[in-house]
């Protein structure tokens, strides 16, 4: 079973790295990060902040968009093109196939994100001659956030078409990013049924803001280790829940 998982992951990875969208996202982000790091209109302190800010934003945006567009159409295309039938005809569980598709696409996105992360760290090294541990931590939690977005996309792809999946995932990602500020404020201002709906939606949505330590990196602030552990466990559990629900839904539908 493990061999089948790795074989399918490898196929999914190779298919994902050939997709043009990933190349464009990575290339665009590398160009923006490089420009932020090399064009110097400001003094060193401000320049470093700009490099950190731009680098973290580009890694997150490129990773999130890439994973959404890679995963949103993966299952649908496999079913439409009948690629899935000979795979499932072997004794390979549907859940294993879905998990392999998710992990393979995620690995491809991580390769792109690693290129961007290495570029960012290299630029920080050039400017500061050291790299703080917080930079590595902030980048690691960006990887976790992208994994969570990918898991959400995979869950929605078992219900909807690729276009609807991509749109809904990006919408939920945006809502999850505004959850603590906007949605909570909205729930406080409303009453009755509206408040109940907003509270219910807010309770289910993932808290995307929790994974972002860009401000801590840019302004050299310290973050408690206990909070980092809590957020890591939260991210892994939420992603695992989305994948488990995807497996459950994909298992019970007809292909």
């Amino acid at each position: 079973m493990r061999r089948a998982l790795f074989a399918l992951m490898k196929l999914s990875f190779l298919e994902a790295v050939r997709r043009q969208i990933l190349h464009v996202m990575v290339l665009l982000s590398l160009v923006v990060i490089a420009i932020a790091g090399t064009v110097s209109f400001f003094d060193l302190g401000v320049q470093v902040k700009i490099v950190k800010d731009t680098g973290m934003v580009m890694i997150l945006l490129a990773g999130s968009l890439s994973v959404v567009f890679l995963i949103s159409g993966a299952l649908f295309q496999d079913v439409e093109q009948r690629i899935i039938y000979p795979v499932l005809a072997r004794p390979i569980p549907r859940g294993l196939y879905l998990l392999a598709r998710y992990l393979g696409a995620l690995a491809a996105v991580y390769v792109g994100m690693t290129l961007m992360a290495v570029t960012l760290i290299a630029l920080l090294w050039v400017h500061l001659h050291y790299v703080s541990g917080l930079a590595v931590v902030a980048i690691a939690f960006t990887y976790l956030e992208v994994a969570l977005v990918g898991a959400m996309a995979m869950l929605l792809s078992t219900f909807f078409t690729p276009a609807m999946t991509a749109t809904l995932t990006l919408f939920l990602y945006l809502l999850g990013s505004l959850k603590m500020g906007y949605l909570h404020h909205l729930a406080e201002r409303n009453t009755g049924f509206a408040k109940w709906v907003i509270t219910a939606v807010s309770a289910v949505l993932p808290n995307m803001e929790a994974f972002r330590f860009k401000d801590a990196l840019v302004h050299d602030l310290s973050v408690p280790a206990s909070y980092l552990v809590l957020v890591a466990i939260y991210g892994i559990c939420y992603s695992a829940t989305c994948i488990a629900l995807s497996i459950w839904n994909f298992g019970r539908r007809e292909v």
């Binding site: 945006l61 309770a203 929790a210 401000d215 302004h219 829940t241």
Partner: protein, 69 residues
């Protein structure tokens, strides 16, 4: 076409994402999320919900497997 949509979304979100809320003039600002007890409470509540869901689902699958065995 999809590429154009990606680029438009990227260009639209980039200025929003780059907006810095930090105020250097000593005015009051919202605490960062790692300093916020509300955030910790929110995360713990969701984590509790996920664990509960996992325990319920796991128990259901166990019972179903024993009944079908």
């Amino acid at each position: 076409m999809r590429l154009v949509i990606v680029l438009i979304v990227l260009m639209t979100l980039l200025p929003v994402a780059l907006a810095d809320e930090h105020d250097d003039h000593g005015h009051h600002h919202e605490p960062h999320h790692w300093e916020s007890t509300e955030m910790r409470h929110e995360i713990l509540t969701q984590l509790g919900g996920i664990v509960t869901l996992g325990v319920v689902a796991g128990s259901y699958l166990l019972v179903r497997r024993r009944m079908s065995a």
